[in-house]
Amino acid sequence: MSIDFLISALVTIIGVSTPILLAATGELVVEKSGVLNLGVEGMMLIGAIAGFAVTNATFNPWAGLICAAAAGVLAASMFGVLVLTLGSNQVATGLALSIFGIGLSSLIGQAYEGTMNPPFGSIFPYELAHHPYGKVLFGHSPLVYFAFVMVFATSWFLNRTRAGLVLRAVGENDLSAHSIGYSVVGVRFAAIAFGGALAGLAGAYFSMVITPIWAQQLTAGRGWIALALVVFAGWRASRLIFGAYLFGFLMTLELYAKASGYHVMPSQFWASMPYLMAVVVLAVISARDRGGSYAPACLGRPFVPNG
């Protein structure tokens, strides 16, 4: 097992893990503020088609990324209005957003099926990006570095800034935060918008970096894995990297095992494993009342100010 082999495998793992990490980071902030947004898959797909379409029209991938984030924010804002202003059930609205995102992206994407963009690769100089060892560090699309930066930025924001403290307070005890004078709806809306932006970028990773063609349901369920990852990481930003890369490692390991002829378990087991884990972990959310959980205390509960 040579260094080249390990490096190439690592590049694949990074490619698989990054979108999950991005989407999970956004969802972490949303859930820390007390809102459960199950629409990650839908927001990712909306971001994916937005990024693809804009890049196709302008030939500028940065414009594509910005529009992908903006599209994610728009989609999340629809969710925010329904859930915060109109008080609708968060679980149902989130699922509706997922389904809506799948449908809307497929509808818009019909015009782009079969077209191709240039892949949005590394912005570092060619020699560095393709260096046999350097490509691990320099050979990635900017979104990969952005994901790492966002995880650390989010962790720092939540734990070390006043604004982050306010956000956590809103998620733990919204009535107390309200009585002190903080705008619960405002903080939650901002968190939802942030989650939408990152989910949109995560979706853009699929349509702009991995395979710069458009295909319906390009994300193939990775949004649900991102949701599960937030719970798996115990709502702690620093653990997100570990969880995302564990998923990426397992998914890549499955491919290498099959290609090398090792058949430890039936291949259907490997294929369903990330989603099985997602189901198990999502069940933990609903069991949060039993024995100390790290979930924000107000997760999923609508905010109803007295009087």
């Binding site: 490619g15 099926e113 295909a215 193939a220 491919l255």
Partner: protein, 360 residues
Amino acid sequence: MSKITRRSFVKAAAAAAATVPVLGGRAFAADPVKVGFIYLGPIGDAGWTWAHNKGRVEMEKALGGKVVSSYVENVAEDASAVPILRDLAKQGNKLIFTTSFGYMDQTLQVAKEFPDVMFEHATGYKRDKNVSTYNSRFHEGRAVLGTIAGMMTKTNTIGYLGSYKVPEVVLGINAFTLAAQAVNPKVQVKLVMIDSWFDPAKEAAATETLANLGCDVITTHTDSPAALQVLEQKGLFGFGQGADMSKYAPHAHLTAIEDIWGPYYTARAQAVLDGKWASIDTWWGMKEGTVKISPYNASLPKEVAAAADKIQAGWKDGSYSVFTGPIADQTGAEKVAKGARMEDKDLAVIDWYVKGVQST
């Protein structure tokens, strides 16, 4: 004022009704026959479904106004196909094509409920009075690809990105391997099954995996061009699946297997129009024109192109079958004796890989 009694009213109404058929008789022309299709993926997948849809359009063009067709995309291969098929039957479709293996039981189930609607199931093996099956000899195309891959590989390792372990895929893998071994006895085939017909991100990751394990020519049995894009970036070679995909990978795309369904769909719709439809099993190939090889990449060396042409000619005139013995399975046991040819009935249900395929 005449008395309008109920009796006179009924008499007048009956008289009026009797004239309707005479009046309306001339307006009745033969209504076009409705033909329905259900597709596994989107018509824009540039592969499997795109080819079926192309066939549907050709059928409509060939038969003019005598048929009118409709389709439903993205029909999952599970119980959710049943209400969709029922819906198509109730809408008046007289001929319904179900274009993927996973619709087998659903097709049979709905066919029993609608005995005067004809169903055609692609790549399956169960039939009924009103259910036909049809398939294409894709493995003939795989033999051409295997010949090219065996001659083009420099690492003697070639890759196969599979979907599910169903007979059609196993046939393809075996044909590819046997043809490659015929021109390059040292070649090994690495196989990855991704348990999906269409998942671009996973196809890309699997292609990277195969490339990292030493494969320099990779063919896919999945429906998106994602694998070709990865190969283009890495400077390796590959093939298009279901359609000519050279625009996605101008250097990597050596050739492609194209599925040509138009002639079959036209023939079956014509049979319904003529009232001659019966349940049959059709397995056409290069000879009948359902399998076509795309133009070779301009960079393909002449002797490789010549070898590939020879295989195509052999299939077309029946002188060649890639499944000619001696063929051993992965344990080394001889499954086909020297000189013997595997018959269709064994090919249709094959579930073992030949020696040289490095996976289970």
